[in-house]
Symmetry: C2
Subunit: 429 residues, 2 copies
Amino acid sequence: MAKAKNLVVAQSGGPSPVINNSLRGLVEAARGYPQIGTIYAGWHGIEGVLKEELLDLSGQPPEEISLLRATPAAGSIGTCRYKLLEKNKEDFDRAIEVLKAHDVGYLFYIGGNDSMDTAHKMSVVAAERGLDLVATGVPKTIDNDVGDSEFKIIDHTPGYGSVARYWACGVLGANEENAGSSPADPVLVMQAMGRKIGFIPAAARLADPERRMPLQIYMAESKVTLEQLAANVNDQLKRDGRCMVVVSEGFDVGKFGERRDSFGHVQFGSSETTVEQTVVNYLNQAGLATRGAARGNVPGTDQRHAMIYASHTDLEEAYQLGLKATLVALNDGGGFMSTILREPGAAYRVRYDKVPLQLVANSERKFPQAWIAPSRCDVTDDFVRYARPLIGDEWVALPIENGVPRFARLEKTFAAKKCKAYVPMAYRK
Amino acid sequence: MAKAKNLVVAQSGGPSPVINNSLRGLVEAARGYPQIGTIYAGWHGIEGVLKEELLDLSGQPPEEISLLRATPAAGSIGTCRYKLLEKNKEDFDRAIEVLKAHDVGYLFYIGGNDSMDTAHKMSVVAAERGLDLVATGVPKTIDNDVGDSEFKIIDHTPGYGSVARYWACGVLGANEENAGSSPADPVLVMQAMGRKIGFIPAAARLADPERRMPLQIYMAESKVTLEQLAANVNDQLKRDGRCMVVVSEGFDVGKFGERRDSFGHVQFGSSETTVEQTVVNYLNQAGLATRGAARGNVPGTDQRHAMIYASHTDLEEAYQLGLKATLVALNDGGGFMSTILREPGAAYRVRYDKVPLQLVANSERKFPQAWIAPSRCDVTDDFVRYARPLIGDEWVALPIENGVPRFARLEKTFAAKKCKAYVPMAYRK
């Protein structure tokens, strides 16, 4: 039998409430196979590989690895927004140098389309440099934008179901607020994540599939003007005396002092103002059809780290996708992402499979136009049928210590450094 | 035995996650006494009394009244920000007219200092007009600003413990986010409610009593400039590479396009921008000591309607205060608010008592200066000892239906109108 090779797992992009459960699935599966030696995490993703900061996961107490199930976001091993650019050959050379120095034979990348592209490129470069590297992807994104618009590459991405549940529960609570406080605050505007794709704001509909609430949903894809939005809100105020608006951070309100990250993506949380604020100000300046004022919430990153809202189904699926990725890497070799596909039929059933990284990297999912209601400020029942099973049917159990959740506490034990210090190319002056 | 008199309960001001449990305690106690006839709620508080919109609570299915326990905010009976002004004699006359017409002998007011003042005035005016009215208060406010600074009138207000728990849990999740995403987003600014009093932002410390996290807390009382705040943040960045900032909506950042309500209070959620945004923009424009940008969350009203974060202790105490108010009204007559006092000793124990409405109305609680740490951006262990028991030790059980919480659904059954239509004075052109 061949000598065991070490494993590195890295994350990229914005986190999710269940990302650590994919990590846990991967670690719990990998530690059972003799082909796999020490399991490391790139501390803050590929940045940790470049800087040779490899967190030792094999040496962590098993109970802390177990607690990853109930630990949201990426504090345990870190994430980053660092992009390995093809032109930055030195970064690739360095990554291979570090992986070779630590006898790494398995690279797992937990992330979205960009990450699958990076994983694919790493495996190609490794082969060119004489490193036998099994590169495998695990899907993750709250936006549900990994894969194709036909749901054949992947049905949905882990993370989405939990953020969908956040919004379903959140809007239900907001409805009690808005109904109660409507004499003074008849309009409540809430800003949802998801950039240019509307799956997250759309999930607000799960709070009220029967459409009993005065709820309007504006996605980036709605293509509605602020004027039309205000007219819609005032119509609702005339009918119901109150209105809740869920608006995507990617909804077009013109300029709002956008700040961009190294991928060129707008950093909505760091910009000079928000879409929510722009909508609230527009409504208040234009004037409401009732007494009182519009007000707003921007939950921001809370959407992706409020662990108590995690979907039980999502949590389980995230785990299974981590586990499946390990099995695919061992049985089928590199170049694949583990995936989840929905079985036909009325009852919700899924199966886990694999799909080539390259196929994922080159795909682009859009929110189906057919799921946007004719009003442009709602989604259809077909969307509800798609999304409803993803939020599950129960609260997840979260252990409590001293009155607050007890999250995993990994020891900051790193592999001994073997290479020279290195400054990632994008970080040089 | 005297003929039974009807009861009206009304709420005022911003809601809380546990306000409905005080209502439930009151209703469940009141319906057991023959002295009390039909139980009505003023639909949207005193506005419902003025408009003769009296929701029939006696006729509601008992299981829906039970569900008030798990139902946040004020959607069930409504709240308002309408102030009965002494100069607006007509409003008082009208309120008395409606109460007389519906044979009301008991008026319960759930609210803060202003509400206790209103309840007191109503009982005085009723006596002048020959209406024998028992007016009783039930304390409610997430801000914990009811009563005195010495905690002798009341130890803490129902609602506060739940919002404190929201922040304790929320900051813990935010810490996983900030730790994970710090290469791109090293600073996370979160805006807390509480207006000019710092109990809510202070509760963020309950996420980390041992001070392991890079967490800074800015209350209105901190009296720190934006320049000093930025210097503190940059010091933290140099030490830890990341920083979380919890800032009160009442923290002084200069002008931010404030909008005010009929009480003259700033409506933070409806203003042109937010304290959080001002802080984020200041930090990003001044420049951070590390790579990346500051970003922010404004959870807004979510703080007071996210039922899943409700403190078990708070929930129980809110119920007991509703129940106690009913007993006080029946045994001691009008003019009191039910109150909660802490027993001396290390273990957390409380007792319920009564306190004159007038004493509450004329009191003003401030956040104890001694509980602000010398750094001005933290609180002391004495505050932690005060607040820790209030968040309880477990998650509340919330019934789920179709994947989301099942809140109470009261029937909109109103008392038949007996008076002429009336437009409240403040609502006239």
